[in-house]
């Protein structure tokens, strides 16, 4: 078990490192001069040179990378070209909103999907199974941002129950929660469709295995067989997908924040791109990628918790 974990942890750190190099390299290759975009096209060449030196852009690339990466480790991502404030601060302000969106959507997905998938598998071939399959097939094809617009149409425009967008700030907790309901549901519905399908097919796969027959022959009630024996054995593919889905949800927030005008990391990313605020974009892309890599690492840890065969105590 320890060897598996050490290998995975080493892989995790190496991937993060590689990701940071790639992000830095891509950003360095992009066209555009930060000094120029800060000072404007009327700036004198001397002023531009002075600004580049102030930004540390005149150092060779490896040195710039080292400075940036070491800073990032300490939470210092440099100073935003556009806002003239530390990037770390910009991110910290917006992280809670994006994280609430992502975690909320993941939680709703985890509440909805496995139950639906298991119910469908238990009624394999029946009308309930069919309904879940058709709904999820359609759900997978619906873009999350259109789902958002439809939800706004129904709950904001028609019924007037919930706001159509905007965020009042965390100092009004109730209003803040109301503002998050529709975006969370929009993100969760699409992912639930995917997860319900995966759960169903993983469960059907397990239900054909011999030990399920043993459990039946032992007189265990159907429900107990499904939840105590089938579901845990189906968890490996399910957890794998959940890890990928968390990544998809985190990315999805970029679009969803735009639909609902929520001031989160996604909005910051789009703004920074529009402002050619490369240093902020760089930090954000690194952060998003780090979240994805971390999610995958957590999935690896979950495998160990789920399956005793992975812990290598065979002997």
């Amino acid at each position: 078990m320890t060897r598996f974990l050490i290998r995975r942890a080493a892989g995790f750190v190496l991937t993060l490192l590689a990701v940071s190099v790639v992000v830095f390299a891509v950003m360095s290759m992009l066209p555009g001069d930060p000094a120029l975009s800060i000072l404007g096209i009327e700036a004198s060449p001397e002023a531009l040179a002075a600004m580049r030196s102030q930004l540390g852009l005149d150092a060779p690339a490896p040195a710039r990378y080292a400075a940036w990466a070491l800073g990032a480790l300490k939470g210092d991502f440099g100073t935003s070209y556009a806002f003239r404030v530390p990037v770390g601060g910009l991110i910290a302000e917006r992280l809670p909103l994006t994280l609430s969106l992502a975690l909320g959507a993941m939680a709703v997905t985890l509440v909805l999907a496995p139950g639906l998938g298991m119910a469908a598998a238990a009624r394999h071939g029946g009308p309930g199974d069919w309904a879940v399959m058709v709904l999820s097939q359609i759900g997978i094809a619906v873009p999350a941002f259109w789902m958002s617009i439809l939800l706004i149409l129904l709950f904001a425009v028609r019924l007037g129950w919930l706001p159509s967008g905007g965020f009042p700030g965390w100092d009004q907790p109730l209003a803040a929660l109301r503002a998050l309901v529709l975006p969370v549901i929009a993100l969760a519905l699409v992912q639930s469709a995917v997860l319900a399908r995966v759960t169903r097919s993983a469960a059907l796969e397990v239900m054909r295995l011999d030990f399920v027959r043993t459990a039946r022959a032992t007189g265990l009630p159907r429900r107990r067989i499904l939840w105590r024996h089938v579901l845990p054995n189906a968890l490996i593919p399910i957890v794998t997908i959940i890890g990928m889905q968390f990544a998809a949800i985190v990315t999805g927030t970029v679009v969803i924040e735009s639909v609902f005008s929520l001031p989160g990391l996604g909005r910051l990313l789009l703004q920074s791109i529009a402002n050619r605020d490369l240093i902020t974009v760089q930090a954000l892309v690194l952060l998003f990628a780090a979240i994805v890599v971390t999610a995958n690492f957590l999935v690896d840890l979950a495998y160990v918790a789920i399956d005793p065969r992975l812990t290598g105590r065979q002997s």
Partner: protein
């Protein structure tokens, strides 16, 4: 203990069981032999109420005096493990890989017998010890993948015995095991049956194992019960041509046989879809009569049982 009358099972691809009647007395050990596709496993599953959804059953099944004809899943479920239990051929995959051995054996004790965890643990330990599992205490904490095939089969037997069933159905319990281990498991099943007064239905295609384990024998072919009788009697003096072929085709360590070709039953087992209408063995039988393919033979009495063959029909 078990009484089956006129049991038939129709699958979409054909008839898996035809008009099978059989009974097993309390504590009796019955061998059920036949090739794959003979319906012996289907009969075993029918006695557990576990035939595939696609199978249409007709006929009567009575368990311990209780009529289970047409019983629903909900009616069967409480009887499984408590009245009739079953172990299967493949011990390697028959245990949930994510559940410790102890928990597996304790599950029916807690669920069915409403034992408290501590009592269930002690009982599970006794059961594992009773099946001859070495170091049962340590094995309780282990996972199935840490056990050998023979050890797993012992765990499965302990699991089947948990609620003290009146009948144990063992479907090819030794086929997947080494010869040595297979012998020991066979002997274990016989001992448990004797000690507990538990009826044993031993399903196998291995005549040596059946001879060792059982008192009475039922031979199946193509969904029909072709011959029954005392095990020793049937093996020594088979009356049905199929039983005769089966016994002749058995590999034996006989020096005289080494140079000769092993006698085989000509032809192959027909698929369910194209079984003959009359005697299922028609077409492969060396002593076939003109009426065999079209008319189903009635069971005629033999020395210790019955055999369904036109050859045994008393001359008119």
């Amino acid at each position: 203990m078990i009484r089956v009358e006129g049991l038939s099972a129709a699958l979409p691809q054909g008839q898996a069981l035809r008009d099978v009647s059989l009974s097993v007395a309390r504590g009796e050990r019955l061998g059920l032999v036949g090739e794959s596709g003979s319906g012996k496993s289907m009969l075993g599953l029918a006695l557990m109420g576990m035939v595939p959804d696609a199978a249409q059953l007709s006929g009567r099944i009575a368990l311990d005096g209780q009529d289970m004809t047409g019983a629903t899943e909900a009616a069967w479920q409480p009887l499984r493990a408590r009245k009739v239990a079953m172990i299967f051929q493949e011990p390697m995959t028959a245990l949930d890989p994510l559940v410790r051995i102890g928990e597996t054996v304790m599950e029916p004790l807690i669920l069915h017998l409403k034992m408290r965890r501590r009592d269930a643990r002690a009982r599970a330990l006794d059961l594992l010890a009773e099946t001859g599992l070495t170091e049962p205490e340590a094995k309780m904490r282990q996972y199935p993948h840490q056990l050998s095939g023979g050890q797993r089969q012992r765990v499965l037997i302990a699991l089947a015995l948990a609620c003290d069933p009146g009948v144990l159905i063992a479907d090819e319990p030794t086929t997947a095991l080494d010869a040595q281990i297979a012998l020991r498991i066979t002997d274990l099943l016989v001992r448990l049956s004797r000690d507990r007064g538990m009826a044993l239905i031993f399903i196998s295609h291995d005549l040596a194992a059946v001879a060792r384990a059982t008192e009475r024998l039922a031979v199946m072919y193509g969904g029909d019960l072709v011959e029954t009788g005392a095990t020793a009697e049937v093996l020594a003096n088979p009356r049905h041509p199929y039983t005769q072929g089966l016994i002749a085709a058995r590999p034996r360590p006989d020096p005289a046989m080494i140079r000769k070709r092993l006698p085989v039953i000509p032809g192959t087992v027909p698929t369910l879809g194209d079984l003959p209408r009359g005697c299922r063995f028609a077409g492969r039988c060396a002593a076939e009569l003109p009426r065999c393919a079209g008319t189903r033979p009635a069971p005629w009495p033999t020395a210790s049982g019955q055999a369904a063959c036109h050859l045994l029909e008393p001359a008119p």
